[in-house]
């Protein structure tokens, strides 16, 4: 029988094509570079190439019901290598996940909890919004809460969920407050009013949740006067730079590595204490592979006296993802069940192979992910995971060092 109606898979691919994210998936030539590049491709029932093939063949439901749907960790390798410039990471996967949920298919339970936390409390960890500024208690520098005392500032620092709440991250957060103060910039935060930026929701395909966060964050940000937003989370950077403008919400934004690297001549004389460490740097996917900021974090590390920087075999655009993006942070059980391993475990082994004693990171997810991975792989005590901020603060002799 001849049917003239396009199968619903094709209709979905056409929708992705019109979304403005890259070129049309209908232009896929089935070369398979995406599947071969994907760090979890061999474990996927439908790696990106097959996702597109099945959708075109009208087997969309099969794709939507597959565990594959919740295995992409948004490392962007496939998107950057695709010879047809199809935006698989930002375009195809969120659209498929959105469609699955619209059809009533349930995302993995561990992820549902995160969605609900963000919807109810405005943070991924399910913590009280009133405790969002608790990291600043008894801090030796002044933290200006712009939601209570609005005034023009150079930097509006969006602290982020993990940096605000997660105990291991709070030391980094406090160190960054000291660095900003030492640099003499005027800065403030949104205090208990701050909300998740929502990048993870968009990548999960929770478009409605993302939209509601954009609306709420717009109201908060439009009420403030600032030179630039600074974020610790490269995912938030990516969202504010790329997705918020699509809703007409445009704000100047910098990831902290870029912000500090621009001030490196001012920072250098402040780096007074040597940090004797052999350091290897893990390029996070959003600021690194997706946006190409490879040299800024390295310039900061190399400015620290005593630091010897060594590279992993896989670095810059070929860096292996920590497995935490695209919702992966909340899907470890699902990914281990269907993929057989955690990428962060592989990555710490690669870091140890360089002979480094320190793995430097610049994404709030990675402290938890890599420290856990170091424990699991028996590298605890031999490989220390430190945020670049911690290493800088140590060299600047800015007070407490968080436990590592």
């Amino acid at each position: 029988m001849i049917t003239l109606e396009a199968p619903k898979g094709v209709e979905l691919l056409e929708k992705v094509a019109k979304s403005g994210e890259g070129q049309s998936p209908l232009g896929c030539m089935q070369c398979g570079l995406c599947a071969a590049s994907c760090p979890l491709g061999e474990a996927m029932e439908f790696p990106p190439r097959k996702l597109i093939l099945q959708a075109m063949a009208g087997n969309l439901d099969k794709v939507l019901q597959s565990p594959t749907l919740w295995m992409c960790v948004a490392c962007y390798t496939c998107s950057l290598r695709c010879p047809r410039d199809i935006e698989l990471t930002d375009g195809l996967w969120p659209a498929l996940r959105d469609r699955a949920m619209q059809q009533g298919l349930q995302p993995p339970a561990e992820l549902q909890e995160t969605f609900e936390n963000i919807f109810k409390y405005g943070n991924t960890l399910g913590k009280s919004p009133r405790q969002r500024l608790d990291w600043a208690k008894d801090l030796d520098v002044r933290v200006l809460d712009l939601s209570k005392e609005p005034r023009p500032v150079d930097v509006l620092w969006l602290v982020g969920c993990y940096p605000s709440y997660y105990p291991r991250n709070r030391g980094v957060t406090r160190a960054f407050a000291r660095i900003l103060t030492a640099l003499g910039v005027s800065w403030g935060v949104l205090g208990t009013k701050e909300k998740a930026i929502g990048e993870c929701d968009r990548m999960f395909g929770e478009e409605g949740l993302f939209e509601s966060l954009v609306e709420e964050n717009r109201k908060l940000l439009d009420a403030q006067q600032f030179g630039t937003l600074v974020v610790l989370d490269p995912h938030a950077f990516r969202a504010l730079q790329n997705y918020y403008p699509r809703f007409g919400a445009w704000y100047p934004v910098q990831h902290y590595t870029t912000f500090l690297a621009e001030r490196i001549e001012q920072i250098k004389p402040l780096l007074i204490k040597p940090v004797e460490a052999t350091v290897t740097y893990h390029d996070n996917c959003c600021a690194g592979r997706r946006c190409g900021y490879y040299e800024q974090p390295r310039a900061l590390l190399q400015a620290i006296p005593g630091v010897k920087l060594v590279e992993m075999a896989r670095n810059r655009d070929n860096a292996l993802c920590c497995g935490g993006g695209g919702g992966g942070m909340w899907l470890d059980a699902h990914i281990v069940a269907h993929g057989g391993r955690r990428l962060s475990d592989d990555r710490v082994r690669q870091a140890a192979d360089t002979g480094a004693d320190t793995l430097a990171v610049s994404c709030p997810y990675e402290l938890a992910r890599f420290e856990d991975a170091a424990k699991v792989t028996g590298l605890e005590g031999r490989l220390h995971v430190r945020d670049i901020i911690e290493l800088l603060a140590q060299s600047m002799d800015l007070g407490e060092r968080s436990v590592s």
């Binding site: 949920m101 619209q102 995302p107 969605f115 609900e116 399910g126 913590k127 478009e207 509601s212 436990v403």
Partner: protein, 256 residues
């Protein structure tokens, strides 16, 4: 089948609970509210019945504790009708709540009334049986699944007993059931659907006369329990506390 689901909001324990200056009630001035967990299961059970056998699902809720957000989510999940019962200020005590809900539910002509078996601020679980008594209907509680029976005039319910025993009971309709858990976890509904429901859902209001229920039990004093003398409260930094916990676990022989 006409199914009525009762939804209650309860204080969200994410915030610390404080006793107010009267010493006999909680300070809910700054509390946030969430749906009572077993009521959420009752709704899920109703939606499952609607999907598998066809039913009309009406949600009835007392209007307090930011109930609207919960009701929009219920509409997004598939509730057909939403009836709000205005009540003055705080949540009424179970006797009064049962009387108010009964008056609102009576005209709905329901075959089945599903209520969460208890709430964290009502562990006695008296609301559902009180409601059944007000409605003059049979009640059975601690239910973990409901199937329509072939005769059409009854349902088969699965009741949990202690010691890992389940019972299948046949219940003639109409009846009130106290739901412990639905046959599957309450479903996730995407926020876009909730937002759409916010635009399209009309709540009905059913005003009921405030009942003159004389409370048989009054609260004399509310207070946080004093730590027992046997409890050792740990203090210090995270590292010190973690080390102490590890040492205790070793002392007790729970880990090597």
């Amino acid at each position: 089948m006409n199914i009525v689901v009762v939804i209650r909001q309860v204080p969200d324990l994410i915030e610390p609970i404080e006793v107010d200056s009267s010493g006999t009630s909680l300070d809910l001035g700054t509390a946030s509210f969430i749906v009572n967990e077993s009521d959420d299961h009752a709704l899920e059970q109703a939606i499952l019945l609607k999907e598998s056998h066809g039913a009309k699902v009406t949600v009835v809720a007392l209007d307090f504790g930011d109930v609207d957000n919960t009701l929009y989510a219920a509409a997004a999940k598939g509730a057909d009708r939403i009836v709000k019962v205005p009540c003055d200020g705080d949540a009424p005590r179970p006797e009064a709540a049962a009387a108010m809900l009964a008056e609102a539910i009576q005209p709905l002509g329901s075959d089945l009334v599903l209520v969460g078996v208890q709430a964290h601020n009502e562990l006695d679980g008296v609301l559902a049986p009180l409601l059944a008594s007000q409605l003059g209907l049979p009640y059975v509680g601690v239910i973990r699944g409901v199937k329509p029976a072939a005769d059409g005039g009854s349902v088969v319910v699965f009741k949990e007993f202690p010691g890992a025993v389940m019972a299948q009971l046949s219940v003639r309709l109409p009846a009130v059931l106290g739901i412990l858990g639905a046959e599957q976890a309450p479903r996730y509904v995407p926020v876009s659907r909730i937002r759409a429901a916010m635009k399209s859902t009309q709540f009905e209001e059913q005003t009921v006369a405030a009942p003159a229920v004389e409370p048989q039990v009054t609260i004399r004093r509310l207070y946080p329990p004093a730590p027992a003398a046997r409890a050792e409260m740990l203090s210090g930094s995270e590292t010190e506390v973690a080390a102490r916990i590890a040492a205790i676990l070793r002392e007790k022989g729970l880990v090597k």
